[in-house]
Amino acid sequence: MNNDVIINTTKLTKYYGKQLGIEEVDLVVQRGEVFGYLGPNGAGKTTTIRILLDFIRPSGGSAAIFGLDARQSSVAIHRRVGYLNGELELYNDMTGEDLLRYLGNLRGGLDWKYVQELAARFQCDLPRRIQGLSLGNKQKLGLLQAFMHKPELLILDEPTNGLDPLMQHEFYDLLTETKKEGRTVFLSSHILPEVEKVCDRVGIIRQGKLITVETIESLKSHSIRQLEIHFAAPVPKEKFVNIPGVRDIVVQDKSLTCTVIGSLDALVKASSRFEVVNIISHEPSLEDIFMTFYSEGKNNAE
């Protein structure tokens, strides 16, 4: 077994009764990689993660972590994994500190200095009862318990849920450090910019099927973007029509709107001949990206 394959699923399938969870998902995550698992709500992200952690059992296929079977060796796997639940529920009648110490005991001890370090970074109020904490503060505790034993693999289900931008930034920094230490991160998200920012590779899942696995660069290269350019004076449409990757051009007086696939370079260069007042870029929605892959997938199949 290749020592550098951390997560490996083969034709992983889960049905809840007749309802499809995921179907034939093949994933390989390498050591030291930050892997983003992207999809809209209900696409099957959490189902995949719950199989990896042996909370639920696959209807078909198999899942291995560290080369160990997810079901047979779940305890050994859990020892080396930190997990953040998507719908985080903590023991409300404990304080943060009591909770972390208890979880640490279940893991056979903790480096409490590191826990305090993390708590300081995320401004966690550990002596407070969890009951009274805001969503964001609970989420920070969730992050702490996932990272506090320095696991080899982090499985994070929608980790930035409820975090303010400052804490999100802190979290991204922590991810970068984790990656530098050669540890592996598997994170699910439905926010594309987040995944673009922190991940090396992305798996896109939709309606239970893994549509594609790509590096961020290649994902960006065929991402679709809505662009709006405002000029100081009216511009002629002809100057823009033949630019590669630019579609749906509408020029109205001093403004131009269009759809760009991939690089913006050619369009920006064409625009620079005129005085540009403002450029507004609308990030592609997940659905736009799915549509690209979906239509591509269909074309390939035909």
């Binding site: 719950r50 952690l53 042996d54 909370f55 639920i56 059992r57 779940s74 305890v75 050994a76 859990h78 020892r79 994994v81 997990y83 639940n85 719908e87 985080l88 529920e89 903590l90 023991y91 009648d93 009591d98 110490r101 208890y102 979880l103 005991n105 279940l106 893991r107 056979g108």
Partner: protein, 266 residues
């Protein structure tokens, strides 16, 4: 310091245990305080003697002499109130500890840790047994101190033995709720199944005494093994207690694979 799931579960129970313990102590003390008044009301016995056989069966064999200490405590405490309270506690706990935690959404969180599932089941069940024993002990202690202080002539050992029987009975139905929770993960279903089974088997025992066709099946009811030995008068019947504890162990033995095998909802 919370070192394991056992201690954590016990900690979660602390308020509930204190409350139930206090109720049971108060119940025992009050019933003891009433006894001197009751013991003078000999008319009760004449009334009871006139009851049809079937009705006497319903009250259990301990009822024969209501004004004697054993008769009084049998009918007022051990034939209904104490087992009922312990059953309510036990079924509530049995349903809450796995299924309740699952519905709250913290069970998955717990299972993230390097803890095998059988250990979660075993630890939580151990807390059930310990809690039930603690409640039984508190109740017995309150009652024993009261009867001694008031010089009521009843053996505190027999009171302990009858309490043990009631705990064993309650543990059977608590284990039913526990097993249902391990199979299905729903608190409501667990309580419904265990509560319903308790009512049905209670009826089987009491009606079985009156209906000839049912009489041979009364041994199927856990209540039979609790009530029939007439512990306060005749002392502990090890066979019957072992039947109850054996049932509990069997239910636990089914709980573990049921919980290991299934999907966790949350």
């Amino acid at each position: 310091m919370l070192n394991n799931i056992f201690l954590k579960t016990l900690r979660d129970q602390r308020r509930s245990l204190l409350m139930w313990g206090a109720y049971l102590v108060i119940l025992g003390v009050i019933m003891a305080l009433f006894y001197p008044t009751i013991s003078k009301m000999t008319a009760f016995n004449q009334y009871l003697a006139q009851l049809p056989e079937g009705m006497k069966e319903m009250f259990g064999p301990g009822i024969a002499d209501y004004t004697s200490p054993a008769g009084y405590f049998s009918s007022e405490l051990f034939s209904f109130m104490v087992p009922l309270l312990l059953l309510v506690f036990g079924i509530g706990f049995g349903a809450n500890t796995i299924a309740g935690e699952e519905e709250k959404g913290t069970l998955g969180f717990l299972l993230t840790n390097p803890v095998p599932r059988w250990r979660v089941v075993a630890d939580k069940f151990a807390v059930l047994v310990v809690s039930m024993s603690a409640l039984g002990f508190l109740f017995w202690a309150g009652l024993a101190i009261s009867v001694s202080a008031m010089s009521i002539s009843i053996s505190t050992l027999k009171l302990a033995e009858a309490t043990l029987g009631a705990c064993a009975l309650a543990l059977v139905f608590a284990a039913v709720a526990f097993l249902a929770g391990c199979i299905k993960g729903s608190k409501g279903i667990s309580m419904g199944v265990a509560g319903g089974l308790a009512v049905l088997t209670y009826l089987l025992y009491t009606l079985g005494g009156m209906v000839t066709g049912l009489k041979n099946y009364r041994f199927l009811s856990p209540f039979y093994h609790y009530m029939e030995p007439d512990t306060l008068n005749k002392g502990l019947s090890p066979v019957h207690v072992l039947v109850l504890l054996g049932l509990m162990v069997i239910l636990l033995a089914f709980s573990i694979p049921a919980f290991i095998r299934r999907d966790i909802a949350k």
